[in-house]
């Protein structure tokens, strides 16, 4: 299991925009480097990438929730 952590403080979003589909759903396959969400801080958006390839098991934070640097955002089962 690999934990994907937030690189910075802010608000975590699972979707690129309010009317868009989520980047990835729980249970989906993700590749290393794939975007799984983004963190907004003061109107600047930073993409959050999966470091590993595998299955995205679960998100550890809700959409639009506050995160701190190092907080686990999602768990990926490698393979």
């Amino acid at each position: 299991m690999a934990e994907i952590q937030s690189p910075l403080p802010g608000v975590f979003y699972r979707k690129p925009g309010p009317d868009k589909d989520p980047y990835v759903q729980e249970g989906d396959r993700v590749e290393a480097g794939q975007v799984i969400g983004m963190v907004e801080i003061m109107k600047q958006f930073t993409e959050v990438h999966s470091d590993v390839a595998g299955t995205l098991e679960s998100f550890s934070v809700e959409d639009a929730a506050m995160v701190n640097p190092g907080d686990t955002i999602a768990v990926v089962a490698e393979g």
Binding site: L8, P9, G10, V11, I41, M42, K43, Q44, A64
Partner: protein, 452 residues
Amino acid sequence: MSTLLVANRGEIAVRILRSARDMGIRTVLAVSEIDRDSMAAGLADEVAVVGPAPAQASYLNAEAIVLAGTEAGCDAVHPGYGFLSENAAFARRVQESGMTWVGPDPDVIDLMGHKTRALEAAVAADVPVLPGSNGPLTDDDDAVLALGREVGYPLVIKASAGGGGRGIRLVRAEEDLLKTVDVARAEASASFGDPTVYLERFVEHARHVEVQVLGDGETFLHLGDRDCSMQRRSQKIVEEAPAPELPDHVRERIRASAVNLARLAKYTGVGTVEYLYDPVRHEAAFIEMNTRLQVEHPVTEFVTGVDLVAEQLRIAATGRTRLRQEDISFDGHAIECRINAEDPDRNFLPSPGRLTRLDWPEGEDYRVDAGVREGDTVAPFYDSLLAKLIVHGHDRREAVRRMSEGLAATHIEGIKTTVPLLARLVTDPRFEAVEHWTTYIETEMPSPGGAR
């Protein structure tokens, strides 16, 4: 107007509340849960919580804001800048609920928000425009190629629904034109929900100049010009009034045509007509009109002595302005620096946190428009603008010197800010000589924060 709802936060909320209070108007401030104890909240007669911290749920929540205004017995709404200030649907909701919208007619907001329609209005008002499609670009490939040859390269393709530097693509050669138009249309459709694009000449080292206008539907006037050429990623950082090194005939042309555009739109309230200035050709051309108060309005207030917020409130309340063009005179030179909670040494990474120290320069030549006090916590949810430092001098040289001294006397601790970058910018020889342009920081300053 007896009670005003201020639908904004930070320094501009403080600014609006002060003018309203001076005019004897009762104030209600719409706040998010996290802003209950902000500096602005302390100045308002009443505070109405409109939602949780994220702006989407509070400051951008039109229904909650209108409800808060009607419940608090407000008869007018001032939107400030940003957030819902140029949202015509919100302006209409405010009016439908029986409150006065402090701003132009929602149809005018719509017109100016749509770049190709605004461009057509500019042409009709005899505002100078760049050579280009002067409206939506045709679907006919041969006609697009012919227009490209006529305008010359490089040229830009812009999204009609874009603005603020978004939705722009540069084309350097004819072989790239048609495919770039296709990509730009697809992008515009995905980003703004409107595939309309237009084509314009690209000016390599452009300056940004703008004219402050004011109207009441019958009387229209200008309050002079500003230069906002020091930018980073299309965000203004340093602004000044009047615009320096502008030939007289260009200054007269932009001032007169800005008033013409306001007249054509039957404009009410304050607005800004933005122009791109080509210092090589000595030509100015229309960019867009902003239908709201601007961040940099204090430099105009410093050189004219006019309180622009008070004028906005007066026009909204009475439908009339008491000002006439002959009443407007200009004294000296003013410069504004925007102080942001960002770290210039780490690619402008936002820097939220607690302000452990906040010292401002003092004196009649300085004005500080701040939205925070020492001890306040800068939240990660909103724009990083903390405050603006504005100075006045008899001439530009004196204003530049005072700004440099003022920045040296500004001490902010607890978070990273852009003060060190601003101190470098205002002492930069190219800035002093007015030889900077809108992408100067990106192209000429590889380490803008000063890190070596």
